[in-house]
Symmetry: C2
Subunit: 222 residues, 2 copies
């Protein structure tokens, strides 16, 4: 049993208290936590499937799936043999730290190296909620257009990594990768940009290397 | 001057009061109002550009553009000679009826046949806010995947028309139009589905005919 029931009740009163609580728990159990955010259909689940396939032989992975409805995405991850817990928010437009805190007793955190949290598909609301994660990643897919970076600046300002997904569609859509780079640098000079296709595998090596590197750094620092 | 200042103040206290106020104003001035919603990058502005081009010789069109930041979309519409007012919500994830009510004095509603409101790119929050519009339209683009209909049921349940956009990308993405039709029928049997490409013009006739028909019906009933 990981959690203390009394503590859990207190924690659930407040989003910020819950975020700190989650963060401490992740630190204590040496679990790296990555919060994946994007518009609906940008490819979070497909990127996650590819990431799990690339990492699961050397690291223990677990997933929390956020969706308004259905267990479809959770089933896709479970099919890869990964412990996955679904959160259905019904009408809710984002995950918050209390929802995550409530689900943590379902995991054996001590045995989990990396926990991915797939947020609700929404380029606005999730950016405002600290889940206690180590890294926030936003995925922007090429068919959405590169104007999304200046048009949704809050999300891109608050995330550590921007993954440009669906680069295999570049010949068929209007997306300027150089302009995206430039806009991101203006809005968030600290952010890293990675261009991938979760469908074809293009560019995934760079993304996987980044995860392994931050996992290594995090586990050394704990 | 369309609005009474005192009334405006009262109206702005409450979202539902503002929606009713807007609705009455649209009715009184014989303006058909269509609220366009979608994920970021599904093609609302491009569809709107094509719609304006097809209708502007016979009908007076105006636009309210909702975005977190920038006037980019408003400028695209203004370039077509259409009166366009931008609302920047900064961090706000949807438009509400009060924001619309505040902007209505900027229009000569008597001279406007159709007012399009382009909502914030967000498949969750805008669905819960009545702006006083006659019709709610949701645009789903093929790269997002047809699983968005069951996964974001609230939006699809509350909209009159679902426009499937970017059908020109069907050969390159995983999207099943028949399954989308079936899912929509389950969630909202009253909804109509229109498949288009705002980029190539495919299927736009059906969309334009629908607008002309509802404009005719609305203007006859007023």
């Amino acid at each position: 049993m990981i959690m203390n029931i009394k503590l859990q009740k207190d924690v659930l009163k407040d989003q910020n208290v819950a975020a700190t609580y989650n963060r401490n728990l992740f630190h204590q159990h040496k679990t790296l936590v990555i919060n994946l955010m994007s518009s609906p259909g940008a490819g979070k689940t497909t990127l996650l499937e590819q990431t799990v396939k690339a990492l699961k032989d050397e690291l223990q992975i677990a997933v929390i799936e956020g969706d308004l409805a259905t267990e479809r995405d959770a089933e896709r991850l479970r099919a890869l043999g990964v412990k996955t817990v679904q959160i259905n928010t019904v009408g809710g437009c984002h995950l918050d730290a209390r929802m995550i805190a409530k689900k943590l007793p379902l995991f054996e955190l001590d045995e989990i190296d990396i926990l991915f949290i797939e947020n609700i598909g929404n380029l606005v609301c999730p950016s405002g909620y600290d889940l206690g994660q180590h890294y926030k990643v936003v995925i922007l897919s090429t068919p959405e257009g590169n104007d999304k970076i200046p048009k949704y600046p809050v999300m891109f300002r608050r995330t550590d990594i921007t993954v440009i997904n669906k680069v295999d569609l570049l010949p068929y859509v209007t997306f300027d990768l150089d302009e995206a780079r430039k806009d991101l640098e203006t809005i968030n000079p600290e952010a890293q940009l990675k261009a991938v296709s979760a469908q074809t595998g293009e560019g995934l090596e760079d993304w996987i290397t980044w995860i392994k590197d931050v996992y290594k750094t995090c586990s050394e620092n704990r």
